[in-house]
Amino acid sequence: MPTPSTASLKNILEAALLAAGQPLSIKQLRRLFSDEWQPSEVEIGETITLLQQEYQGRGIELKTLASGFRFQACSETAPWISRLWDERPPRYSRALLETLAIVAYQQPITRAEIEDVRGVAVSSSMIKTLMEREWIRVTGHREVPGKPALYATTHDFLDYFNLQSVDELPPLMAARDVDAITDELKLNSYAENSR
């Protein structure tokens, strides 16, 4: 393996991240180096920060995602870039997005629990689509009769939606406290009833 001088750490990381076609973690990046020249995780992290700064305001950006770092086209350029392909970007049905959102916010969750929130049956094919897309996975089984599978979201899901963790999901709409609701209802009384 050549000595570090032939290529700077920054150039190697830049080329690797651009060539990988998927997010790379610091650990993965470190494995590109041999014993002769093994930069520390701190060095790699610092160099990535430098690269992120250098790419600010350009056509591509180096994003920090759940499973690592990924170069991607800036969203401002999307209207033009999308014309590279004939196919239109995939659209997802409301049913799929609702199911995905419930899993994302309530994970781990069983299919029956998802159905409870949505008030309708969740089809097997939808669960299968989400599993194949590798957006959700089975993390275990609920200890109740039938041992239903518990679903949770994956790093691929976070990567796809440009998130580092589920904490970055938009906050849920504030629900009024159930107790408060009950109190209000009591005060409202049976106005309905007396009509």
């Binding site: 080329a15 651009l18 060539a19 076609g21 998927q22 591509i60 990924r70 170069f71 991607q72 086209a73 800036c74 969203s75 999307a78 870039i81 999308s82 970007p89 995939p90 997802y92 409301r94 049913a95 997005l97 609702e98 995905l100 959102a101 419930i102 994302a104 916010y105 929130v117 949505r118 008030g119 309708v120 049956a121 990567d159 796809y160 939606f161 440009n162 998130l163 999901l169 938009p170 849920l172 709409m173 629900a175 009024r176 159930v178 609701i181 009950t182 209000e184 209802l185 009591k186 005060l187 409202n188 009384s189 049976y190 106005a191 309905e192 009833n193 007396s194 009509r195």
Partner: protein
């Protein structure tokens, strides 16, 4: 306390038990043909109920059950016409609404008994609110910048240096794995349809792709050149079938300029 006082309540005609009596709009009913279009867009009974409540500016905490149930049943009746399968979930909700309605008609035994004091609507309100939160969450999720729509991954070629390992490695698989995967598809497909492909059609398909490869939109090829007489009768028939299939699929063009002249085959641009 009630954070959102609806417009309808402000125009209340009278007060009962200190609460305004809501004058329900008479125009709740929408013509059936208009309904059919957006009925399909409801994601379930909760979604439909939310729509009824929100579109008429009703307070979710004080749902006029009688009126909402009446409206809901009209939609359900229409849905049954369109999609019987969906109706099951909707009928469960209809039953729940009917139960709430009947319980609300019963006189209250005591004003201060803890358990019985619960408004029969409380559970429905809780479910509606929960559903509404996730409905909104799904909308938010859809708006997040995502791959393939708002941002695209970069694809870079590996450096040009000759290096064995530079070629991207592909996972090895064997035909048995492919076959068993297909077996799974077949089993599922058999359950729903009968259109499994017979062996004979395989050779026609094979011939179809061979012919598609031979012809181009740029130049004509004599029809007869596509036949290989050494394959005998079955081969000729298969080729003919393949040509007809391709023509039917409008993947090739057949041209004959003069009567009894040579037929030419051309790819479709």
């Amino acid at each position: 306390m009630v954070a959102t006082v609806s417009a309808a309540q402000e125009e209340s005609l009278a007060k009962v038990n200190g609460e305004p009596v809501v004058n329900l709009p008479k125009d709740l009913f929408i013509p059936p043909d208009a309904l059919e279009i957006f009925l399909e867009t409801f994601e379930g009974p909760l979604d439909l109920l939310l729509y009824l409540i929100r579109s008429h500016n009703l307070d979710i905490l004080n749902i006029p059950i009688a009126e909402v149930t009446r409206q809901y049943m009209k939609y359900v009746a229409l849905m049954e016409k369109i999609d019987l399968e969906l109706a099951a979930d909707y009928l469960v909700m209809a039953a729940m609404l009917a139960e709430i309605k009947s319980r609300m008609l019963l006189p209250r035994t005591s004003h201060h008994e803890e358990d019985d004091d619960l408004d029969p609507r409380a559970e429905l309100v809780r479910r509606l609110q929960t559903y509404e939160r996730y409905k909104k969450a799904a909308e938010n999720l859809d708006e997040l910048p995502r791959m393939e729509r708002d941002t695209f991954e970069v694809k870079l070629d590996p450096p040009p240096v000759a290096h064995e390992k530079q070629q991207k490695q592909h996972p090895p698989i064997d035909l048995a794995t492919v076959l068993s995967a297909f077996h799974g598809v077949l089993q599922r497909a058999v359950l729903s349809t009968h259109h499994t492909v017979e062996k004979e059609r395989l050779s026609v398909r094979e011939r179809m792709s061979l012919i598609v490869d031979l012809v181009t939109p740029e130049h004509f090829l004599p029809f007869t050149q596509l036949f290989h007489y050494d394959e005998g009768r079955p081969g000729v028939v298969v080729t003919l079938l393949a040509i007809l299939e391709l023509h039917k699929a409008q993947l090739i063009e057949l041209v004959q300029t003069d009567p009894y002249g040579t037929i030419h085959v051309k790819g479709v641009a």
